[in-house]
């Protein structure tokens, strides 16, 4: 089975996002960029499937500008076998990303797509579900558990009420949540070796997809700031003020 793992380059999770003064977006120039943390978990999951003998090949794919190739090298260093870069400098919306991934999944005859449940920039949480729809494959979203056996995937999903288990006939799309695994750090020799692994570059047109945007970001602004309140000296004072002043108890 071939596993496809889409990865996205985003503002590093430990960098505080700053809104640009002209309100057109979040400042990314000269900021530290990294692989989306949910994508790291997806790469780790795919590599573990290969190590377990369940998957034969792990193909990482990224859609983005020239620097997305760095993110693909990270995936290769972690253990992906090869990479495909769909080069497009402008922002690509989830539906267009899903169309590109669907074309690639068909072309690669992938048996499974494992990907993050959302990217921490746009927080859309759409692409995996859209991909599954376009391929007419079942979907296991927000996965905290994944077992592959007998042509199906048993996915444990983190849902609002607790946990849910679904069995998906392969091929399928699985989107991963935070607690599926702890992604590995690539050791230096693996990083060196990753530079020699194959990385193909395609244009959206090669996959027959028009990546034109259908929505426009009119403005990006800071959220309303919350003012720090008062410090109280004791828990007793806290209870009194919550009762008499805030009126919430």
């Amino acid at each position: 089975m071939k596993v496809l793992v889409p990865v996205k380059r985003v503002l590093d999770a430990y960098v505080r996002p700053r809104v640009k003064s002209d309100g057109t977006g979040v400042e990314l120039a000269n900021a530290k960029m990294s692989m989306n943390p949910f994508c790291e978990i997806a790469v780790e999951a795919a590599i573990r499937l290969k190590e377990a003998g369940t998957a034969e090949e792990v193909v990482a794919v990224s859609i983005g500008g020239a620097k997305a190739s760095e993110t693909l090298r990270t995936a290769l260093a972690m253990g992906a076998d090869r990479a495909v870069h769909v080069l497009h400098e402008a922002e690509v919306e989830p539906l267009a990303v899903a169309k590109l991934l669907a074309a690639l999944a068909r072309r690669e005859a992938a048996g499974l797509v494992v990907m993050g449940k959302q990217a921490i920039d746009g927080d859309n949480n759409q692409t995996g579900q859209m991909l599954a729809a376009l391929l007419d494959w079942p979907q296991g979203t927000f996965a905290s558990g994944l077992e592959i056996a007998d042509g199906s995937a048993l996915v444990t999903r983190e849902v609002d009420g607790g946990l849910e288990r679904v069995r998906l006939a392969l091929p399928a799309v699985v989107t991963v949540d935070l607690r599926l695994n702890e992604p590995r750090y690539a050791p230096l020799p693996a990083i060196m070796k990753a530079k020699k692994k194959p990385l193909d570059t395609l244009a959206p047109g090669d996959l027959g997809v028009d990546p034109a945007a259908r929505t426009r970001v009119v403005q990006v602004e800071e959220p309303p700031a919350r003012q720090a309140g008062v410090k109280v000296a004791t828990a007793t004072e806290l209870a009194e003020r919550l009762h008499a002043e805030a009126g919430v108890i």
């Binding site: 503002l11 996002p17 979040v26 539906l95 449940k117 959302q118 921490i120 920039d121 927080d123 859309n124 949480n125 759409q126 579900q129 729809a133 494959w137 079942p138 979907q139 979203t141 927000f142 048993l154 999903r157 983190e158 849902v159 609002d160 607790g162 946990l163 849910e164 288990r165 679904v166 069995r167 998906l168 006939a169 935070l178 607690r179 945007a213 929505t215 426009r216 970001v217 009119v218 990006v220 602004e221 800071e222 959220p223 919350r226 720090a228 309140g229 008062v230 410090k231 109280v232 004791t234 828990a235 806290l238 209870a239 009194e240 003020r241 919550l242 009762h243 805030a246 919430v248 108890i249």
Partner: protein, 316 residues
């Protein structure tokens, strides 16, 4: 053109998240239809018909629609979508699972997690874990949206019920099967709709210590939440996680105990009306958003607070 709301329900009743999605739909000023799709969900359809502002309920009942699987529900939503100006669902794990699948089937670029409606085609939504708010305008013929559950006040019950109309759906065929679930059983209010939330962080130190919050929660009739650190450490179940990737809450009172206040956590609770922080580290970022901060060892503060609450509430 009317607006369609996809109901989240358990067969017997609709979830409060559905009343929130209806509230957002109300702001669009058109007739509101609610789709209740499931197996043996006639009672839920009646419940949806009783929500204020609902003009009609579409009731799809079929064994293959059990458990709200996206593979079965999305084709129904996609088929209905072209008849509506907007299709809305709550931005819960249910809505997040189903709506993008439906949107892709309808070839619509949807908009997730809206926190405000500026115009019929323009919406506000948090990005970067709530560190920025984007205003997004769409050209799509049908606006497909999920609604942030803390951003709108749920609609109340209506005085009269709307008509319920059964709709035919093709038997669902798909490659997904429900295998089971482990739902957290609690006598406490649901986290996302509770009026008071008591949340614990890594400062609690252990699963046993985390249970100390139960006494306080019981006294306040509160739901219990947790930071990601506490969930990752195994102190609290995953469905109690409050934060951008967990649950988003906005209660009247949020009490953060032993939580440092990572950006990710703040994104999930900073719209609470009154925030209380108890932490022994006076530099913890949580104090920057707290209305009332208490710098203290939580193991001393909790019992004192419980005792004081008893007195404060006693005369009432």
């Amino acid at each position: 053109m009317a607006v369609l709301v996809l109901a989240e329900h358990d067969g017997a009743s609709v979830r409060p998240s559905t009343a929130v999605a209806v509230a957002a739909a109300t702001d669009l000023g058109a007739d509101i239809h609610v789709l209740v799709a499931g197996a043996d969900c006639a009672a839920a359809a009646q419940a949806a018909a009783g929500l204020s502002g609902v003009a009609r309920v579409l009731h799809a009942d079929e064994p293959g629609l059990a458990h709200g699987l996206a593979e079965a529900l999305a084709p129904i939503v996609a088929r209905l979508a072209p008849d509506y100006s907007h299709v809305l669902a709550p931005a819960t794990t249910f809505g997040k699972n189903v709506m993008p699948r439906a949107a892709a089937l309808a070839d619509i670029q949807m908009i997730s997690d809206i926190s405000g409606i500026e115009a019929a085609d323009t919406f506000r939504r948090p990005i970067y874990a709530g560190n920025a708010i984007a205003t997004v305008q769409t050209d799509e013929p049908v606006k497909m949206l999920t609604v942030r559950t803390t951003a709108f006040e749920p609609v109340p019950a209506a005085e009269a019920s709307a008509p319920v109309e059964a709709i035919d759906v093709a038997p669902a065929t798909h490659g997904a099967a429900f295998e089971g679930h482990e739902l957290t059983v609690s006598s406490r209010p649901e986290l996302t709709t509770a009026g008071v939330v008591v949340s614990g962080g890594r400062g609690l130190g252990s699963k046993e210590n985390f249970a100390l919050l139960d006494t306080l929660a019981d006294r306040l009739g509160a739901a219990v939440g947790a930071s990601r650190a506490a969930v990752d450490a195994g102190y609290a179940p995953n469905d109690s996680q409050v934060g951008q990737t967990g649950k988003v809450v906005a209660p009247a009172l949020y009490i953060a105990v032993g939580i440092s206040g990572a950006i990710q956590h703040l994104a999930g609770m900073k719209d609470s009306k009154v925030i209380v922080a108890i932490n022994k580290d006076e530099d913890a970022p949580i104090f920057q958003v707290a209305d009332y901060g208490l710098v203290a060892d939580l193991f001393d503060a909790l019992p004192e607070l419980e005792g004081a609450l008893h007195k404060a509430k006693a005369p009432a």
